[in-house]
C-alpha cells in the first residue's frame, strides 16, 4: 500500500484505490434491525446502572421500544428488493426479514412477562434484558446471511448470552448445572460446526453458501469427500442447537434448570435461529441432477432418519415426565422434528413447497410455547419455584384466566383445530405429501396421537384441586404476564382467522 500511495498523485488515488479494493455495497437499512436490537441492549445496560434499584420498568420500557422500532424497520423493508451487501456478509430477503420479525416478536413477548417472574424468584437482575436482547440479535444474524462465518457468529452471539442467562438463578444448583451443561455441550457443538465450515472452505475456497452450491461436483472424489465431511460436521453442530435426536440430551436438563422465562426464550428464539440457519444451509445445499448424484442425495437420508427419531423420541420420553418444564422441553424436541419435516419437504420440492410452512409453524410454535412457559412461570413465589405437575394443582382456582389460556396453548400444541397448531401441522403434513415424504407424514401423525396423552396431562394438572400443596401459593397474576398470555392465546386464533392476509404480508403472495 505504501507503494500504491507513492506512485500516485492526488487525482488518480481514489480511482486506483477503487480498482485495487472495490468498495463493497453497503446497505445500511439491511442491518438496521440488528443494530437497533444490539444498541437497545447497550442502552438497557446503561439504564440498568442509572435506574432506581427496585424498579426494572425503565429497562423494560426501553427494551420494548427498541424492539418495536426494530420490528418497524423490518416491516418497512418488506417491499424492498432482495439484496446482499457488506461484501456478501448480509443478506436481505423475505425469509431473513420474516425470521427476524419472529425473533423480535418472541423477544418482546418474553420480556413482557419476565419481570413478575424474576421478582417472584428474587432474581430481578436488570442484566437479564440486555442479555436477552443481544441473544436475540444473534438469532437475527443467523437468518440474515448466506455467509457461513456470519451464521457461526450469530450462533455464538445467541448462545453465549444464553449460557449466562441459564445460570442466572445463582442460588439454585440446577440453574448453575444447566448453565454449565449448556456451555460445555454448546462449545462442543460449536467446535464441530466450525470444523465443518473449515472443511467447506477448504473444499470450495468460499464461505458463501451460493458458491458452495455451485462448487458441488460429485465426480471429483477428494472434493466430494471433503464437502460431505464438512456438511456432516456442520449439520452436527446445527442439530445440536436445534435439539434434534440424538443431539438433544442437553435440552430437558437445561430447560428444566434455567429460569422459566429464559427457557421460554430458549425454546422459541433460539429454535427460530437454529431452524433459520438450517433452512438456509439445506436449501443452499441442493443441487441439480445434471452433474450426477445431487448433494442432497447424500445428506437427505440421514436427516430423514433424524426427523423420525426426533419426533418419536421427543414424544415418547415426554410421556413419563413428572416436571412440566421438562415435558415442554421434550415437546419442543418433538416440534423441532415437525419443523424439520417441513424444511425437508421444502428442500425436496422447492417449486411446490415454499417458505410459508416453516414461517407459519415457527410463528405458531413460538406463540404456544412462550404462552405455556409464561403460565408455568406462575408457580414461582418467594424465591421458590416448583414446576412438577402437582405444583400446578389448584391453579384453576387462583388464576382462571391463565388456566384458560393454558388450555388454548395445550390444544394448539396437540394440534386440535381450529388452533394455529393444527393448521401448522396440516401444512407440514400437506407439504410432506407434496414432496414424496409420505413416511415422515405418517410418523408425524402417529406422534401427534402420542402427544395427546402428556399434553392433556398438563391441562389436567391445572384443574386438579390442590390438596396439601407442597409449594406456597403461586404468584399473583401481573399485568405483563396477563398481556403475554392474552397476546399468545389471541394470536393462536388470530393467525388462523387472518391466515390469508397474514401470510401474504409475511411471505408474499404465493
Amino acid at each position: 500500500m505504501y507503494n500504491l500511495l507513492a506512485q500516485t498523485d492526488g487525482n488518480g488515488l481514489a480511482k486506483r484505490l477503487a480498482e485495487a479494493f472495490p468498495p463493497p455495497t453497503i446497505d445500511w437499512p439491511s442491518i438496521l434491525p440488528i443494530a437497533l436490537v444490539v444498541c437497545t441492549g447497550i442502552v438497557a445496560l446503561i439504564v440498568e446502572m442509572l435506574r432506581p434499584r427496585q424498579n426494572n420498568n425503565a429497562i423494560i420500557g426501553f427494551s420494548l421500544v427498541g424492539l418495536f422500532f426494530a420490528g418497524l424497520s423490518l416491516t418497512s423493508q418488506f417491499a424492498s428488493p432482495d439484496l446482499e451487501s457488506f461484501g456478501g456478509m448480509v443478506l436481505r430477503d423475505r425469509f431473513s426479514l420474516t425470521i427476524q420479525l419472529l425473533v423480535v416478536m418472541v423477544t418482546g413477548l418474553t420480556i413482557l412477562f419476565s419481570d413478575g417472574y424474576l421478582r417472584a424468584k428474587r432474581i430481578p437482575f436488570g442484566e437479564f434484558y440486555p442479555l436477552v436482547l443481544w441473544s436475540a440479535s444473534g438469532a437475527m444474524m443467523m437468518a440474515s446471511s448466506k455467509n457461513l462465518l456470519m451464521i457461526f457468529l450469530g450462533i455464538e452471539v445467541l448462545s453465549i448470552s444464553l449460557y449466562v442467562l441459564a445460570g442466572m438463578s445463582k442460588t439454585e444448583t440446577k440453574s448453575e448445572e444447566s448453565a454449565l451443561k449448556y456451555f460445555l455441550l454448546g462449545a462442543f457443538a460449536s467446535a464441530f460446526l466450525l470444523y465443518g465450515i473449515a472443511f467447506m472452505y477448504g473444499a470450495t475456497g468460499s464461505l458463501h453458501l451460493d458458491a458452495i452450491r455451485s462448487a458441488w461436483n460429485p465426480n471429483d472424489e477428494a472434493f466430494r469427500n471433503m464437502m460431505l465431511f464438512g456438511m456432516g460436521l456442520m449439520l452436527f453442530g446445527l442439530a445440536f442447537k436445534a435439539a434434534f435426536v440424538p443431539f438433544h440430551q442437553w435440552t430437558p436438563d437445561v430447560y428444566q434448570g434455567a429460569p422459566t422465562n429464559v427457557t421460554a426464550f430458549m425454546a422459541a428464539g433460539s429454535k427460530i435461529g437454529a431452524m433459520a440457519a438450517l433452512w438456509r444451509l439445506l436449501s443452499a445445499s441442493t443441487t441439480n441432477v445434471d452433474l450426477g448424484a445431487t448433494f442432497q442425495s447424500y445428506w437427505m437420508p440421514a436427516l430423514f432418519w433424524i426427523a423420525i427419531l426426533t419426533m418419536t423420541v421427543g414424544n415418547l420420553v415426554a410421556l413419563v415426565q413428572k416436571d412440566v418444564k421438562r415435558t415442554l422441553g421434550y415437546s419442543s424436541i418433538a416440534h423441532a422434528g415437525y419443523i424439520l419435516v417441513g424444511i425437508l419437504a421444502h428442500v425436496n420440492n422447492p417449486e411446490k413447497v415454499g417458505i410459508g410452512t416453516t414461517v407459519f409453524y415457527l410463528l405458531s410454535y413460538s406463540l404456544m410455547t412462550i404462552g405455556a412457559f409464561a403460565v408455568v412461570s406462575l408457580t414461582a413465589k418467594n424465591g421458590k419455584e416448583g414446576t412438577r405437575f402437582e405444583d400446578l394443582h389448584g391453579l384453576w382456582k387462583r388464576s382462571p384466566f391463565a388456566v384458560g389460556c393454558l388450555i388454548v396453548f395445550v390444544a394448539s400444541l396437540i394440534g386440535i383445530p381450529p388452533t394455529s397448531g393444527f393448521f401448522g401441522k396440516l401444512m407440514i403434513f400437506n407439504d410432506a405429501l407434496a414432496s414424496d415424504l409420505m413416511p415422515l407424514a405418517i410418523v408425524l401423525a402417529v406422534n401427534s396421537v402420542l402427544s395427546v396423552y402428556y399434553y392433556v396431562g398438563i391441562a389436567k394438572a391445572a384443574f386438579v384441586d390442590a390438596e396439601g400443596a407442597r409449594t406456597p401459593e403461586s404468584a399473583p397474576m401481573n399485568l405483563g404476564l396477563a398481556a403475554t398470555c392474552l397476546l399468545c392465546a389471541g394470536g393462536i386464533f388470530a393467525v388462523v382467522i387472518l391466515f390469508n392476509p397474514l401470510m401474504n404480508w409475511l411471505v408474499g403472495a404465493p
Partner: protein, 757 residues
C-alpha cells in the same frame, strides 16, 4: 343456501350461551334450549332436496380450504336425526340433571357437539369436514369425562380420544392424499378414484378413520368404556349421532372410493366381524348401558356391512336402517337412564317389575324394544328391505351373519326393554322416585316416531329413502319402501330370527347366572398393554440416555458421530492415501514420542504428570511445525503450550484430590470412543489434505514484501501491513479480554475480603 352455515353458527353460539341460560333459569333450561334444534329439525325435514345444493366461500386458498356446505339427501337424513334427537336429548337432560350445579356445562357441551356434528354432515370441503370431525372427538372427550372425579370416566375419555383422534389423523391423511391427487378440496367434485395409483392408500387411511369413529372391529372397545358418560350423552353421541359419523363418511365417499373389490371385501368383513363381536359381547353384559353399547356396535357393523354392497337399493335400505336404529336405540338409551333414575340400578339381571312404578316409561320401552326386535313398523320395514337385498341373489354367509345379529338384537331387546319392566324384581332393588315429564318425553316421542314412520312408508321414503338413494346410490331405488312385502323369504327370515332371539332371551338369565367370568383378553386390554408398553419404553429410554450425566451425553454424541462417519465411509469409501514410505526416520521418531506421551498422559495417576506429558505432545507439535518450515508457528505453539501448562497448574491448586471415579468398564468404553474419534479425525484430515486449492500466496508475499512494504521480515510485514486491520482487531480483543481478567481478579479479591470481614 347460506342456511346450513347459519344453522351451525346459531347452534354453536347457543352452546356458548347455554351455561349462562342455565344459571338464569336452571329448572327450564332444557325446555328452552331444545327449541332451536327442534326448529332446525323441522327446517331440514321440509327442505330435503332432490339433488344436492351447495354453498361456497373461500377461506385459505393456499391450502385449498373453502367454507363449502352441501345439503343433499344423505346430509339431510343425518341433519334431521342430529337436530331432532338432539332436541329430545336436551329436554331429557333437564329431567336427568335437574338443577344440579354444573349442568350448564353439560348443556353447553351437548350443543357444541350438536353444532359440530351438523358441520360434519353438511361440510363439503374435505378439511372443513375434518375440522368438525375433530370437534366432535373433542366434545365427545369432554362429555365422556364429564364426571371427571371418577377414574374410569377419565380413562374412558382419554381412550376414546386416543382411538378416535388417532383414527382422525389417518382420516386427515387420507383426505389430504385425495385432495392432492384430485387437486380438488370439494368432496362433491371428487369423481370415482378407483383408478388412482394411490387408491389403496386413500381407502385404507379413510377407512381407518371411519372404523375408529364408528367403533368397528377391532376398534370397538372404546365405545362400551365411553358409557361412563352421563346417559343423555350416551344416548346422543354414542348411539344416535357421533358414532354414525364414520358410517356417514363411508356412505358419503362410497361414490368416490366404493365399487372396488377392496371396498366390498373390507367393508363386508369388518362389518360382519363387528356385527358378530357386538352381538356376542352384548349378551355377556348385565349393565343396561353396556348391553346397549355393544348392541350399538353390532348395529354400526350392520350399516358398514350394507354400505359394502353399493347401489341404490342398498342406499335406500341403509337409510331405513339408520333412521330406525337412531329412533329405537336413542329411545332405549333414554329409557335406561330413566330406569337408573327411578330404581338407582342399571343391572339388567336384577331389575324387574318396574311397569307399575313407571307405566309411561314401560310403554315407551316396549315400543322401542319392539323396534329393536324388528317388529315395530319402521324397523320391520328396514329389516325386510335389508333381507330383500341379501336374498337377491341369495348370499348365504351374509344371511347367516345377519341372522345372528338380528336374533341377538331380539334377545338384547328383550333383556333391556322388557325384563326391567315385566320381569321378576330382585327385592334388593331400592324403591326410587318416579320419572317426571321431561324424562319421559324423549323416549316416548322417539318410540312413537318409530311406529308412525313405519305406518307411512311412502311419505317417509319420499323425504328420506329416495333422496339418500339419489345422493349415494347413484340413482332411484326401484322398490320404494313398503311395510308389507308379502309372504316370502324375507318374512320367513324375520320370523326365524325372532324365534331364535326369543329362545336366547329365555335362556339368558340362567346362562348369565352360571357363566364363568370372561377370560381376560380383548382389544381393551391390548390398548392398556400398548399404553403400558409405550410408557415402559419411554422409562427405559430416559434411564439409559437421559440420565443427566454430562459424560453420557458426550458419549452418545460422539458415538453417533462415529457411527455416521463409519456408515459414510463404508458407503463412499473415501480411501485416504497414507504414504508411510516418504516419512523420514526423525519424523517417525517424533510421532512415536508424541504417541507415547499421549498414552502416558492417559495412564497417569497424578494430575501434574498428566499435564507434563500432555505438554510433551504440545512441544512435539511445535517441533513438527519447525520441521515443516513454519518456525513462527512453532514459536507460537511453544508459547501457548507453556502458558497452558502454567494455567493448568494454577487451576490444580483449587481442585480436590485426584481420584479415579470410574471403573474398568467405563474406562474401556471411554478408551474405545476416544480412539475412535482420534482415528476418525485423523482420517478426515488425511482426506482433506488430498485436495489442494489454488496456489499458495506465500510466494507472492516473499517477493513483494520488500518492494511494496519495505520490510525484510516477511512474517512481520504480513502481520502489521498486509493484514494490519486483522491484527488491530486481534490486539483490541486481547486488550479487552485482559481488562476483563483484571476486573474479575480485583472483584474476586474484593469479594473475598468482604466475605472474610
Amino acid at each position: 343456501m347460506v342456511t346450513p352455515a347459519l344453522a351451525i353458527l346459531s347452534l354453536f353460539t347457543l352452546g356458548l350461551l347455554a351455561p349462562f341460560l342455565f344459571a338464569l333459569l336452571p329448572r327450564h333450561a332444557g325446555k328452552l334450549l331444545c327449541l332451536p334444534p327442534a326448529f332446525w329439525c323441522g327446517w331440514f325435514w321440509s327442505k330435503t332436496p332432490a339433488s344436492g345444493q351447495t354453498w361456497t366461500s373461500p377461506w385459505i386458498p393456499e391450502l385449498g380450504i373453502t367454507f363449502s356446505f352441501r345439503l343433499d339427501g344423505l346430509a339431510s337424513l343425518f341433519a334431521i336425526l342430529i337436530t331432532g334427537i338432539g332436541a329430545m336429548v336436551l329436554l331429557y337432560t333437564e329431567g336427568y340433571c335437574g338443577a344440579k350445579p354444573g349442568s350448564g356445562r353439560l348443556y353447553g357441551l351437548l350443543l357444541l357437539f350438536l353444532a359440530s356434528m351438523l358441520g360434519v354432515v353438511l361440510a363439503d370441503d374435505a378439511i372443513l369436514l375434518f375440522l368438525f370431525w375433530e370437534a366432535t372427538s373433542v366434545t365427545s372427550f369432554l362429555l365422556i369425562g364429564f364426571e371427571h372425579e371418577r377414574a374410569n370416566a377419565r380413562r374412558g375419555a382419554v381412550q376414546a380420544l386416543m382411538v378416535t383422534g388417532g383414527g382422525g389423523l389417518a382420516l386427515l391423511a387420507g383426505l389430504l392424499v385425495i385432495v392432492q391427487q384430485t387437486g380438488q378440496g370439494r368432496i362433491s367434485a371428487w369423481g370415482p378414484l378407483a383408478g388412482d395409483p394411490l387408491y389403496l392408500a386413500m381407502f385404507a387411511l379413510v377407512a381407518i378413520g371411519c372404523f375408529t369413529k364408528s367403533a368397528q372391529f377391532p376398534f370397538h372397545f372404546w365405545l362400551p368404556n365411553a358409557m361412563t358418560a352421563p346417559t343423555p350423552v350416551s344416548a346422543y353421541l354414542h348411539s344416535a349421532t357421533m358414532v354414525k359419523a364414520g358410517v356417514y363418511l363411508l356412505a358419503r365417499l362410497s361414490g368416490s372410493l366404493g365399487g372396488t373389490e377392496v371396498w366390498t371385501w373390507t367393508l363386508t368383513l369388518v362389518g360382519g366381524a363387528t356385527m358378530l363381536t357386538g352381538t356376542l359381547l352384548a349378551l355377556r353384559q348385565t349393565d343396561l348401558k353396556r348391553l346397549l353399547a355393544y348392541s350399538t356396535v353390532a348395529a354400526l357393523g350392520t350399516m358398514v356391512f350394507v354400505l359394502a354392497r353399493g347401489g341404490a337399493e342398498a342406499a335406500s335400505a341403509f337409510a331405513a336402517f339408520v333412521l330406525a336404529h337412531a329412533l329405537y336405540k336413542g329411545a332405549l338409551f333414554l329409557v335406561a337412564g330413566a330406569i337408573d333414575h327411578t330404581a338407582d340400578s342399571r343391572d339388567a339381571f336384577r331389575l324387574g317389575g318396574l311397569w307399575q312404578r313407571a307405566p309411561v316409561l314401560a310403554t315407551a320401552s316396549t315400543l322401542a324394544g319392539l323396534g329393536m326386535m324388528g317388529v315395530a313398523p319402521l324397523a320391520f320395514l328396514a329389516k325386510e328391505t335389508l333381507v330383500d337385498g341379501l336374498l337377491s341373489p341369495p348370499d348365504v354367509p351374509s344371511l347367516i351373519v345377519f341372522g345372528v345379529m338380528a336374533a341377538g338384537a331380539v334377545a338384547i331387546a328383550g333383556i333391556v326393554a322388557f325384563r326391567p319392566f315385566f320381569g321378576k324384581a330382585d327385592p334388593a332393588i331400592a324403591d326410587g322416585h318416579k320419572p317426571d315429564a321431561p324424562l319421559l318425553t324423549g323416549p316416548a316421542v322417539l318410540a312413537v316416531l318409530g311406529i308412525v314412520g313405519g305406518l307411512t312408508p311412502t311419505f317417509v321414503f319420499e323425504r328420506i329413502g329416495g333422496p339418500v338413494a339419489a345422493a349415494i346410490g347413484g340413482g332411484t331405488d326401484p322398490h320404494p319402501w313398503a311395510l308389507w312385502h308379502g309372504f316370502g323369504a324375507p318374512l320367513a327370515f324375520s320370523v326365524g330370527t325372532l324365534a331364535l332371539g326369543l329362545a336366547v332371551y329365555r335362556a339368558w338369565p340362567a346362562w348369565i347366572a352360571r357363566a364363568a367370568p370372561w377370560p381376560s383378553f380383548g382389544f381393551d386390554r391390548a390398548y392398556d398393554a400398548g399404553l403400558r408398553g409405550t410408557v415402559s419404553v419411554a422409562r427405559a429410554f430416559t434411564r439409559t440416555i437421559q440420565n443427566g450425566r454430562l459424560r453420557a451425553y458426550l458419549q452418545t454424541t460422539i458415538a453417533t458421530f462415529l457411527v455416521l462417519v463409519t456408515l459414510a465411509a463404508v458407503r463412499w469409501n473415501p480411501s485416504p492415501q497414507i504414504r508411510l514410505d516418504t516419512a523420514l526416520p526423525h519424523e517417525a521418531l517424533l510421532a512415536l514420542a508424541m504417541l507415547l506421551a499421549v498414552l502416558a498422559a492417559v495412564r497417569s495417576v497424578s494430575r501434574l504428570a498428566a499435564v507434563v506429558t500432555l505438554g510433551v505432545v504440545g512441544f512435539g507439535v511445535a517441533l513438527t511445525y519447525a520441521l515443516f518450515g513454519a518456525p513462527d508457528l512453532a514459536m507460537t505453539q511453544i508459547a501457548v503450550e507453556t502458558l497452558t501448562v502454567i494455567l493448568f497448574v494454577l487451576t490444580f491448586y483449587h481442585l480436590p484430590r485426584f481420584a479415579r471415579g470410574s471403573g474398568t468398564r467405563t474406562r474401556a468404553v471411554d478408551a474405545l470412543l476416544a480412539t475412535g474419534v482420534g482415528a476418525t479425525m485423523a482420517a478426515i484430515t488425511l482426506v482433506a489434505s488430498q485436495r489442494l486449492l489454488g496456489t499458495p500466496i506465500s510466494a507472492h508475499f516473499a517477493e513483494n514484501s520488500l518492494a511494496e512494504a519495505h520490510g525484510r521480515n516477511v512474517v512481520n510485514v504480513i502481520l502489521v501491513d498486509y493484514r494490519g486491520l486483522d491484527t488491530l482487531g486481534e490486539i483490541t480483543v486481547l486488550s479487552i479480554a485482559g481488562l476483563g481478567v483484571v476486573a474479575l481478579w480485583t472483584f474476586g479479591r474484593r469479594a473475598a475480603k468482604g466475605g472474610s470481614a
